[in-house]
Subunit: 346 residues, 4 copies
Amino acid sequence: MSLTVAVSGASGYAGGEVLRLLLSHPEVEIGAITAHSNAGERLGALQPHLHALADRILQETTAEVLAGHDVVFLALPHGTSGAIAAELELLSPGTLVIDAGADHRLQSPQAWERFYGSDHAGTWPYGLPELPGQRAEIAGASRIAVPGCYPTTCLLALAPGFSAGVLEPDDVVIVAATGTSGAGKSLKPHLLGSEIMGSMSPYGVGGGHRHTPEIEQGLTQAAGEPVTVSFTPTLAPMPRGILATATARLKPGVDPTEVRAAWERAYGEERFVHLLPEGQWPTTQSVLGSNHVVMQLAVDAHAGRVIITAVLDNLTKGTAGGAIQSMNLALGLAEETGLTQQGIAP
Amino acid sequence: MSLTVAVSGASGYAGGEVLRLLLSHPEVEIGAITAHSNAGERLGALQPHLHALADRILQETTAEVLAGHDVVFLALPHGTSGAIAAELELLSPGTLVIDAGADHRLQSPQAWERFYGSDHAGTWPYGLPELPGQRAEIAGASRIAVPGCYPTTCLLALAPGFSAGVLEPDDVVIVAATGTSGAGKSLKPHLLGSEIMGSMSPYGVGGGHRHTPEIEQGLTQAAGEPVTVSFTPTLAPMPRGILATATARLKPGVDPTEVRAAWERAYGEERFVHLLPEGQWPTTQSVLGSNHVVMQLAVDAHAGRVIITAVLDNLTKGTAGGAIQSMNLALGLAEETGLTQQGIAP
Amino acid sequence: MSLTVAVSGASGYAGGEVLRLLLSHPEVEIGAITAHSNAGERLGALQPHLHALADRILQETTAEVLAGHDVVFLALPHGTSGAIAAELELLSPGTLVIDAGADHRLQSPQAWERFYGSDHAGTWPYGLPELPGQRAEIAGASRIAVPGCYPTTCLLALAPGFSAGVLEPDDVVIVAATGTSGAGKSLKPHLLGSEIMGSMSPYGVGGGHRHTPEIEQGLTQAAGEPVTVSFTPTLAPMPRGILATATARLKPGVDPTEVRAAWERAYGEERFVHLLPEGQWPTTQSVLGSNHVVMQLAVDAHAGRVIITAVLDNLTKGTAGGAIQSMNLALGLAEETGLTQQGIAP
Amino acid sequence: MSLTVAVSGASGYAGGEVLRLLLSHPEVEIGAITAHSNAGERLGALQPHLHALADRILQETTAEVLAGHDVVFLALPHGTSGAIAAELELLSPGTLVIDAGADHRLQSPQAWERFYGSDHAGTWPYGLPELPGQRAEIAGASRIAVPGCYPTTCLLALAPGFSAGVLEPDDVVIVAATGTSGAGKSLKPHLLGSEIMGSMSPYGVGGGHRHTPEIEQGLTQAAGEPVTVSFTPTLAPMPRGILATATARLKPGVDPTEVRAAWERAYGEERFVHLLPEGQWPTTQSVLGSNHVVMQLAVDAHAGRVIITAVLDNLTKGTAGGAIQSMNLALGLAEETGLTQQGIAP
C-alpha cells in the first residue's frame, strides 16, 4: 500500500512533527505540504531538521491543493479547520481528514463557544485509542479529532481509575508542566529563550485553560458521572514534553492495595502506554520524540488521594504521533506502523 | 557594628549562597569558612563565583573553629548539626547559631524519626518572619531553624487563607517544581546535566517527602486545626527556583470575591512577599538570586478551590536569604539589611 | 552624595540591568525611567524582577524628560542616541551622558557607515578602564561610550599580549558564544525558547559582525600596529554570559614560558579581571550577574599559538556594570561602588 | 537478512544510542546487551527511553557473551576494547567488530601513548565514509574504528578544502562546543545539571585534548602534507550536539569565489552531509537524533581565512549513527539502512 498524504500548517511545530513522523512511515508518500503566510518558501528554511524534504516548496493551504490525497492532516490555528474540512468533504469525499487542532474535539457547542469564542465546527471521533471503546470508534472513521496534548496526558493518567470506579469525581486536581513547543511558534515576549531558560511559570490558572472542558469530557465519559477538574498548566524550560501530576480522592471503601491493579489492567496490553515498576519515576526525557506515555502512581493514604504522574511528548503522542496512530487504525494498518521510534536520551 | 560570622558547609550550594549574601551585608565581617571533605582547599576552586573570597582556604568544620564568632551558620547534612550545636553551646555561649539544615525545624520527635530516621535534635525558633506571630519569636533568639525551601514557599502561599479561616484543612494539594540546586551538589546520575536538561520528573510522590510534615506543621499552626497535605515535588531543568501550585477547597459559605483580601492583608506591608496584580503570573526568573517571593491566586469557582502559585529562589529566600533575614531580626538589625538585591533577569 | 540618574530604554534587557545595578548603588537616586513603545506602562509588568521599582510608570524617552539629572543612561537602539545626546547637550549641559549603545564607540566614520549603514554620531571616551591609559580618559569625562559586550571580552582577553608585543597582529582568530540576552528582547523566530534550548548556532560569520571593527580598533591601539581579526559569534542556550576563545600566533622569538607574565602584570591589581590559577577553567556561571571577568590562557607550542578563554556577563560587565564602573570613574567615586555583587551560582 | 547484533557498554550513552538506532534497523535482531558494573540490572532502569527493551537484563561484558553474533559493538572505556577484541578474534572469527571507543583510531602508536598513556591496541579501518577513498576501505572490513565525535565534525568540515588544496596546512584553528553527553555518564561535579545549565566553559585548552591527534591525522591524509591544528573544545548547556567553528588560511592565489565549490563537489551526492544554501546557518537542533551533518562556510577576505561552521549530533553521526553507517557498508547493505530518522525539532 502507498498512501498519499498532505500536510497543512507545515511551517508550524505540529505540522513539522507530522512530517517528521510520516517520513518514517513505510506506507506513506508525502504529497502536498502547505502553509499560510510561508507559502512559496523552501521547507528547509523553516524546518531545517527535515533534511529529506529540504527542497520542497510550501504550497498555499486551500482545499484544492489538499484534495485528492488519501489522507489530509490539518495542523491549523483553532477556528479555521471547520471551513476547510467542509470544502474537502465536497471536493474529495474519500479523503481521511485528521484535525490536529481543537475544532472538532468537544461534544458540547456551549463549551466550545465559551472557551474558544466562535461557532462550533462539530464533533468528530476522538483519536485516543487507549480509552475504553475508542478503538472501535476510530477504526474505519473518515474524520478524526486529535486530542489536545494536555488532555491526552490527563485522560491516560486518570481514566483507568474512573473506569474502575475507585476515584471520587468531584475533587480532581491536576498540575501539569509543558515544554514551550506547546505554545507554538508564536512571537510573544514571554516565549523568548531569554525569558524561558531557567524559569518556570503558571498560566491560565483558575479554570480558564481551553483544555479543561476536554479533560472533563473524557473523564466524565470514563466515570459515567460528571467529573470536575481543577487544572493548572505551567510552562517549563524545555522545548518538548509534558509532565502531569494528577490526583483524586479515593472513593470510600476502596482498598488502597487494589488501586494499582486498575491501571495494570488498562495498560497491560498497550504498546505505547506504560506503568513503570514501583519505585521508578517517569521523566519527560524518556519519551522525547516517541509515541510513548510513561506513568507511575502512588496512593497517599495519609491524604486519602491517589497521585498519578504521567509524561509524554506533547508534539509526538500529544499531537502528531497520536494522529498517525489514529490514521493507522482508521485505515486498517497495524496501529504502531511508523511509530517505532524510541525516546531520544540523553 | 561589625559582626563576625562563620559559615560551615561552605563548599556546598547552601553554604556558598550564605557567603554570597554575606558579602553584600554591610554589618558583617566573614570569619571562619569551613567544610568537611574539602577542608584545606582554596574556596576559589570550589565556589569560583565568590571572587572576593577566592583565596580563602577552607578550614575543618569543628566547634573549635566556629566558636568565638558572633554568628555561626550551619549548612550541614541533616543529622549532623545537633552535635555541633551542642558543642558550640558550651564553647561559645553568646554565639547566634543559625541552622540552615533540617535538624531543628520539626516540633514532633515522632515526625522527625519517621522521616529522617535518626534521633531528634530539638526544636528551635522557626525562621519565617512573615508567618503570623513569628517575628516576635525570632527577635532576640539565639538559635534559629531555617525553614526548608519547599515549606517556605508553601507556607507563604497558603498561610493567609488558613489564618483567615477560608480554607478547608483536609484537602490541600500542592505540586511544586524545584531547580536542581535543591538536591544539593550530590553526585547522583539523575542529577547530571545530560539527564536534567530538557526533562521534568517527579520524585518522592505519595507523602514520603521530608518537607511534608514541616508544611503540615506550619499550616496546622496557622489554621488552628490539623491540616493534611498531599505534596508532590518535581525536578525542573533549571539550577534554581521553586514554583509551587497550592490548592485547597474553600470553606462552605466563603464569598469567592473576598478571598483575595486575606492575602492582601497578610502581605500588604511585607517587603519581600508580593501578591501580583491580577492578570500577571509569577515566574521563577523574577526572583532569581533575590530574597523575594511572588505569588498570584485565583478562585476556581467551577472546581470550588482556590489556587495559589508562588515562586522563590530556593537558595536565597528558600535558604540563605531567609537565614540572613532571621539573623537580622535576632540581632535587632533592619530586617532587609544585606538583602536588597533584586532578581537577575533575563 | 546623592546623584539623580535617569535611565532610558528601561523596558529592554540593557536598561533593566542598569536599573538592577543602580538599585544597589549607595550614591544613586533613580529619577526618570523611560521607554519608547512601552511608555505609560508599569515597570513591574515589563521587568518583574525589579521589585523595588514595580510601581513606577515608564515615561516617554525625550530629552526633556531626561534633562536635569546628574547622569543619563542611554540604552537605545543603535542610530538613535546621537540625536538625543545632542538635545541633552543643550538642555542639560552638566549631565554626564553614558551611551550603552553602539553609536559613539567607533573612531572611524567609515567603519561606522559600513557596518551600521547610517551617519556617524561621533566618538566618545571608550569606557573600558582596564585598557592601558583608559582610566585617565574616563576620569572627569562628561560623555562615555560603553563598549560592546563582545569587544569588552575580546579586548580584555587579548590586549595584554598586544601591549606586551608578544602576539602577531595579522592572525587573530576569535570564536565566541553568547547568551540570548545579547540579541535583545527582539521577537524573532530564532530567539524563541523552543528554538534556542538545546541548540547552538553561529551567526554573522565571515567578518560581518558589527563588533569586529570595534575589536580591531581596540587591539590596534594596544598593539601600536594594525590588527586584523577573524571573529565568529555563536548563540548558546543560556540567557546570559559570553565565553570568548581568542587565539593569536606568538611573535618569533617569544619565550612561551614568559607569555603568562604579560597577563599577570596587566590584571594583577585589577579588581574585576582575574587570571585563574593554572589548571582551572573559567565558566560563565562564575560571573553571572557580576561585574567580574575571568580568564585562563594556554600556550599551544605545537600550534604556535596562545589561546585565551575569557568569560563575563554580557549584561553586567559587558553592558550595564561596565557603564556604572565608568560612571563612578567619571564622577570621582570609588570605581567599584555599587558593583560588589558576586556571581550567582549555581 | 536478519543480523544478530550484540552491544556492550549498554548502560552508557554511546551504547544506549547504538541500541536506539538498531531498534529502527530493519535487518537487525538485537542479541546480547552487556555492561560492566550494571550487569544483572533491567535495561529499563538504566535506559528508560528504550521502551522496546525495557525488560531485558544486562549481561556481563565478556568475549564469551559477545561471541557468535554477526556484529558486535564495543562501547567501552578507552584502553579496554583491545583485549576483548583479541579474544573475539579467536572465539568468533567471523564477527564484524565495531569499536565505538578510541582504541583503534590512531595510526601512530606514539600519539596513542602520549595522549592516552597506555599501549596502543592497533589501527582499524577508519569509519568515516564521506572522506575521500574511505568507503572502499570500510566495505568488506571485519573491524571498524568509529571516529571520535569531534574528529567526525572537524574532518567533515575541513577535508574538502585540504583535498582541493585551497587551505594552508599550518594554521588551522578550531573551536568547538559539545553537549554534555560527550563527556559520558560520569559522576563528576562539573557535569551536574546545577553547574551546567546556563553556563559555558572551555576544557582541555592548549593542545591537550585527545581528539587533536585524530583530527590532524585525518587532515594530513586529506592534504597530503602535515597539518597542525589548534583545537579548543568547550562544554555547552545542552545534552547533545556539536558545533565546530573551523578556520584556516587560504593558500596564496586561491580565488575566494571558487572556494565554496570544493565543498559542493565533496558533498553534493552525500546523503548525510549538507552544505546549506548561502545565508542560512546551521543549528545543532536541526540534526538532533539524526545521522545528518549540516554546515555553512564563509570566506573572510579581510582576515584571509575561510570559516566553516558544522553541526552534528555527537551521539548519532558522531558515534552510534556513524558506527551503523559503517556497519551497513561493511556488510554490503545500503548505507542509510536504519538511519532515516530526521532531526527532532524543536
